[in-house]
Amino acid sequence: MSRKPSRKCPSNSKFCLICPLRFFRKIFPAKPARKIVIGVIGNPNVGKSTLFNELTGAKQYVANWPGKTVEKKEGIRFWKGCELHFVDLPGTYSLSASSLDELVSREFILNEKPDVIIDIVDASNLERHLYLFLELAEMGARIIIALNKIDIAKAKGIQIDVEKLSKLLGTPVISTVATRGEGISRLCDAIVGVALGTIKSNPVLVKYSEDVEEAIRLLEEKIRQKIEKHPSRWIAIRLLLKDRDVINLVSKVAPEIIKEAEKLTYRLEKKYGQPIETIIAEQKYRLIEKIVSETVKYVGHPILDITDLIDTVVLNKYLAIPIFISILWAIFLFTFDAATFLVEGIDFLFEILADFARNNIPNELIASLITDGIIAGLGSVLVFVPNIFFLFLAVSFLEDSGYFARAAFIFDRIMRKVGLHGKSVIPLILGLGCNVPAVMATRGIESEEDRLLTIAVAPLIPCSARFPVFILLAGIFFGKMAAIVMLSMYLLGFALAFLIALIVRKIFYKGRISPFIVEMPPYSRPSLKSISLHMWIRGSHFLKKAGGIIFLMSIIIWFLASMPPGVEFGGPESYAGIIGKSLEFLFKPLGFDWRIVTALIFGFVAKEVVIDSLGVLLGQNLEEVLPQILTPISAYALMVFVLIYTPCIATIATIRSETHSWKWTLFVVAYELILAYLLAFLIVFIGNLIF
């Protein structure tokens, strides 16, 4: 992990040139503060990101864990002369490393050895949340418990003896209400105290039944001599549990221990008649039950649960899908209609900018590079930014409210039939608006395979940028049939997405779909602060990541269209025209001439650019010119081609930044190009046979 220097501008901005603080600090360097690294961990839905935001404010930077697709969030807070460096670990239920999230968290705790771990625990559901705590304790971490949602627990009639809990667990327990920012300063005090050693944190260890303890002791003795880096008791327990990564670790230094562990595990499993995981977990839960019974009191009757009421309607057999569709419709209206004025504003701004540049830059070539290349390229993508931000706002709202878990549950069965996961449904539907947020929304899918698969098929969903191409071609060539032709495009898009998912699943992942388990958190009203912060972090992440690639591609496309010097922009003598002409032979069978091929090349930037380019290349009167160079069959083939061939630059950039793999990105682009060509060819071939 890269460590940032402690003396830095609190705005965390690299490009901050005018920041007075940074300037001041350059002249008078601050006393280097003691740096404390803190891992923040907790089950999903415990309010972890809210607490993290409260702890760090907007001073966060988002990246990915090295070599992983899991998002890594870090933030800084200065407290009592110390620099608290918070690292947000992915939300997990346990640390068994059976998913990527768990692996990431575990490797961080083992290898980075943070000074303090904050384990966020839901006060209204102590029993389940303490399981993670016991696993952390076995790893030898110094833990502070943040007893979150204490207000909800009180409302439910749950009383917790915090002092006694702290004594029984052996760690400081700080009650917090993250949504209102309560308890944050006490938490920071405790962090500094534990890190400096003034407050003790000796988390309680589980005492297993005698035969299990015996097995642990046997292994521990042998491990202690060979491995010193990690706590030997933890390694012994993980070996009994047949943990793949720990086995890998141990087999390098002492392969004989593994054989021994295998034998011991077998013996225990046979004796208890349960898998070893269950035996160990059961005994952990027994300790938890004991602790909970001593510290938690239930007083009064819990108030009527509104969550149950909503769920009976939302999960109803007949109502579930209609409700889902209407919520979706609302999101669409919000993202595309409510953001319209901003989109038009940005469009207008870029036009003014382009005009200004054209009129004021004397060198024609540079003026063209800036107006036709950079401004046009960036502009065509930046107009989507308001949509993207609004969409993230709506998505964050639904995510925080707890509805997404229900939607995934309802659709799991249907999606499973086509080789996808219940949680793929939301990204795919968002793709109807724009493929970029669709790819980004796949973050919610835990399984790496399911996620990559969803990313691969998401660009097949016809986004709103393809709509103008369809409507133009359908209007010119099919007259009264236009609506049916349009509908066929949408159906084809979804059908292909499902088909490709099924095929890729069969080839790469041997038909395995991870079983579906989802926690359905109680419904809650998301706070504006939390969702707007969410929106800001995700949206600006997109801008930073995709911006660079889009910029580069815009320049390349401009270069192709206007070089060699002196040619008409996108004309037959330009490189783009030459490429179009030289590729014409490939597209002859489809009935496309070089101008259409050139327009398709420009379509890489964004699909609606195909229409603009055709306008430039063919003269403005498309209604008259197009029927002369295309037959209706070829026109339909062109529509199908535009539907499928390659995601736009913004989507490609997003796929790359989300998957962290050029291989997967190229795979998506390549299969789409091939599929588009084959399908268009098939349409022309069959069409010519019939008509």
């Binding site: 793949r244 008649g273 109680p522």
Partner: protein, 96 residues
């Protein structure tokens, strides 16, 4: 890719000798039925996940919803949705 070890347990064979009298899979539980989890038949990854979420032998469950979409259970005050396939692998002792 992580290496797979030969002796890592595959999907565990359901023990035939196990006495299943009175145990029924979650998927056969009626709506609002209550019971105690007795046995989970699943692979390692899933078992770990279930255990972490509190679905473990000895835990009390209540079935809130049981429809074609899957089963929604209440365990320790947490609502959890399971796909039908997984729900048919969690065995419960029904409380009458």
């Amino acid at each position: 890719m992580r290496k797979r070890f030969g002796w890592t347990r595959k999907l565990q064979e359901f023990p035939k000798e196990k006495h299943l009298g009175g145990l029924i899979p979650l998927i056969n539980m009626p709506k609002n039925g209550e019971g105690i989890v007795r046995y989970i038949w699943a692979g390692r990854g899933i078992i770990n996940r279930l255990l972490g979420m509190g679905i473990r032998p000895g835990a009390k469950v209540k079935v809130l919803e049981n429809s074609m979409y899957g089963v929604v259970i209440l365990i320790n005050g947490t609502k959890i949705g399971l796909c039908p396939r997984l729900a048919s692998r969690i065995y419960v002792e029904q409380a009458w």
